[in-house]
Amino acid sequence: MSKWEYAPAPESTEIVSIDDTYGLFVGGEFVEPRDGSYFKTINPATEEVLAAVAEAGEEDVDAAVAAARKAFGTWSALSGTERAKYTFRIARIVQERARELAVLESMNGGKPIKESRDVDVPLVAAHFFYYAGWADKLDYAFPGRSASPVGVCAQIIPWNFPLLMLAWKIAPAIACGNTVVLKPAETTPLTALTFAEICNQAGLPPGVVNIVTGAGATGALLVNHPDVDKVAFTGSTEVGKEIQRSVAGSGKRLTLELGGKAANVIFDDAPLDQAVEGIVNGIFFNQGHVCCAGSRLLLQESVADKVIDKLKRRLGTLRLGDPLDKNTDVGAINSRDQLDKIKRLVGVGVDEGAELYQAACDIPEKGFWFPPTVLTGVSQSHRVAREEIFGPVLSVMTFRTEDEAIEKANNTSYGLSAGVWTQKGSRILMMADRLRAGVVWANTFNRFDPTSPFGGYKESGFGREGGRHGLEPYVRLGAPR
């Protein structure tokens, strides 16, 4: 018990108003699912049911795609300036409702309020602002090529950054003149449904954005719908592969943003205290529910003990608990399923010979929780070094030279991100050049910006989101002039 215990500092939920049931958002209206199916969505920190949400069946998906197709004619014919205005308005309303969205995101998903408030929601607005700015400049985005919309886009997003993943998908799509049917993850539908309200508030023409809630089956219906021109998916590599198989030969465009097992590489000349912050941020931010999480720590052997000592000590100041408490650093695991998976893989790690260290945390009785965990003595030939755990679990191994670090870092089927910690500028450039990862962070981690393209190599997927590159999946390029 510390001398100084911080008193609870809860963010109020009064600003949020959650309906008992939600329909599907199709053609600008909330409609009941044709076969009347609903499923429950909960708060993973308390297991309390928040609402009943529609489960979209075949007819519902048909209706949504049809609404998107119907809206496409007019929307794609609007000038870029006009589309920009709608997109800017959406961005502004997101900002105006920022606190409400942040609280709702934390309630439905489990992430700490300080993250949803300071990272997720600001980035959501930023993405809409950014792509609003491109809407009227598409003629300049691809020198010598004209850009026209693709058509109806099917977008499937995960539960780790629900509203942010929605923004990454919808903002570029509509800015480029496409219409969308988006399916949020089954455990985190609420901010997407609130976003639907925001579309209406912004006066967005009906059918430009459609939100169909549901689980895997709904996703499959959407992906396989014959009148969809493009599919964008963020989620597990396993499902990504299934989608790629189903889309093969259909003529549909595809982008995938999948899993990762990123190496966070610390050299002996790294600024050690800040590197420890980078390690903590890399794997414990959002409880490690991050595709680009720095889940493999590669420590230069000469500083390994020192860094591990500092890291263990730092774990002692991480606060796990109520996601709505402003002082919470580590929130709830998103679902029982995910918690079981994390526990299983950590068990595997220990069986494989890794040493387990966990911060001492008061685990609340209800809800899904896993304390920040460090597995040391890990080797590349351990499952916990290969398989994505998607939880607050760090696997630690050592290396001796730059070449060895690169070899180990690249020795994975994934290739989404990597981190490099060193004082030496030339080493940063060299590592960035040789690491096979779509994003390389130098002396930082988990930094996102709408101007910066994000995406992976190898089984982490293909296609980029953010920046000028993020326009590519959403345009058809004309012949070179």
């Binding site: 510390s2 001398k3 100084w4 215990e5 911080y6 008193a7 609870p8 500092a9 300080k114 300071d118 000349d269 790294a270 600024p271 050690l272 205290d273 800040q274 590197a275 912050e277 980078g278 100041t317 402003k326 002082n327 004082q423 002396n443 930082t444």
Partner: protein, 308 residues
């Protein structure tokens, strides 16, 4: 009496546990700690601690015995008629005012701290600077706040910096020495860390951010870097050194942020006037106002807080 590591191994220490500091990372960590929301009982406890850690300070050309006597009354009893309000840790004055300060504080637990060594610039010969310390200690100062020679440090003469601090600690005898790094003049956090390690290796009881006469004075990131240096020094040598933050800290909210930095970097043991001080003048009244607000739910008229 401070224990000092052998001269060669002390400078080695700065190299051995030195290392570098990433500015962006340090700024981010400090910003993240500044976001802690301290409420209710934990806030009241912290406000009380902050008050007990204040070095109530006057370092003006205008300082006179009369001023010192009156400020000393404030130091002993910050809120007349309210015995639940503790005295501050120390009264910090120029060397010539040590005698009146000692007289005025006789019988109270408040310490007398004196600046010395050609404060604030440090631009005087070593023998003159040491004489200042001797006089102040002779007049009864319990604590001496010295400055390092930034000129020597920035010219690369670590040995001179070390030696000056070592001699100062020696000459101060039983008085505790707080060594001011003047972080605002050092340029980078790498240098702040290095200066901190040298000052500690040379025997300082406390390291202090600033003279308060130069801007920027105390900042949260610089203090974080110093706290990390203190922690690493303690890990390496077993010796505890205190942290004093000074200059520009006027709001209680800001003072509490420094407490959070100490709490989450150094831990419980440092949350005590023996190991943590805030150089303050107007902060004291803001702390009193915030304590009243916590207790009563209301902000009082500012004239309820005395100006001495």
């Amino acid at each position: 009496m401070a224990t000092v590591i052998g001269r060669q191994s002390s400078l080695d220490l700065a190299d051995r546990i030195g290392g570098s500091v990433d500015e962006v990372g340090a700024d981010e960590r400090a910003a993240s700690l500044a976001k802690r929301s301290i409420k209710k009982d934990s806030k009241l406890w912290a406000l009380d601690l902050a008050l007990r850690c204040c070095d109530l300070t006057t370092l003006e050309g205008m300082d006179s015995p009369g001023k010192i006597r009156q400020l000393a009354a404030k130091a002993r009893r910050p809120q007349p008629g309210d015995d639940s309000i503790p005295p501050v840790a120390a009264l910090c004055v120029y060397p010539r005012l040590v005698k009146p300060a000692v007289e005025a504080l006789a019988g109270s637990p408040v310490k007398v701290a004196s600046v010395a060594t050609a404060f604030p610039s440090g631009q005087a010969d070593l023998d003159i600077r040491l004489q200042e310390i001797e006089r102040a200690v002779g007049d009864g100062a319990h604590e001496i706040d010295i400055v390092i020679s930034r000129g020597a440090f920035l010219a690369g003469d670590d040995e001179a910096v070390f030696e000056e601090v070592r001699r100062s600690v020696e000459v101060a005898g039983d008085a505790h020495v707080k060594t001011i790094l003047e972080t605002g003049e050092l340029g980078s956090f790498d240098r702040v860390r290095r200066a901190a390690l040298i000052a500690m290796a040379a025997g300082s009881h406390f390291i202090k951010t600033s003279t308060g006469k130069v801007s920027p004075a105390a900042t949260l990131p610089a203090s974080l870097v110093m706290a990390e240096a203190i922690r690493d020094f303690h890990d390496e040598t077993g010796r505890k050194v205190g942290l004093k933050v000074a200059g520009g800290i006027r709001a209680s909210k800001e003072a509490l942020r420094y407490l959070v930095v100490v709490h989450e970097t150094l831990g419980d043991e440092w949350l005590d006037p023996q190991w943590f001080r805030i150089g303050a003048s107007s902060l004291v009244n803001d702390l009193l106002m915030q304590i009243d607000k916590q207790r009563t739910g209301l902000y009082s008229d500012p004239d309820r807080y005395t100006l001495d």
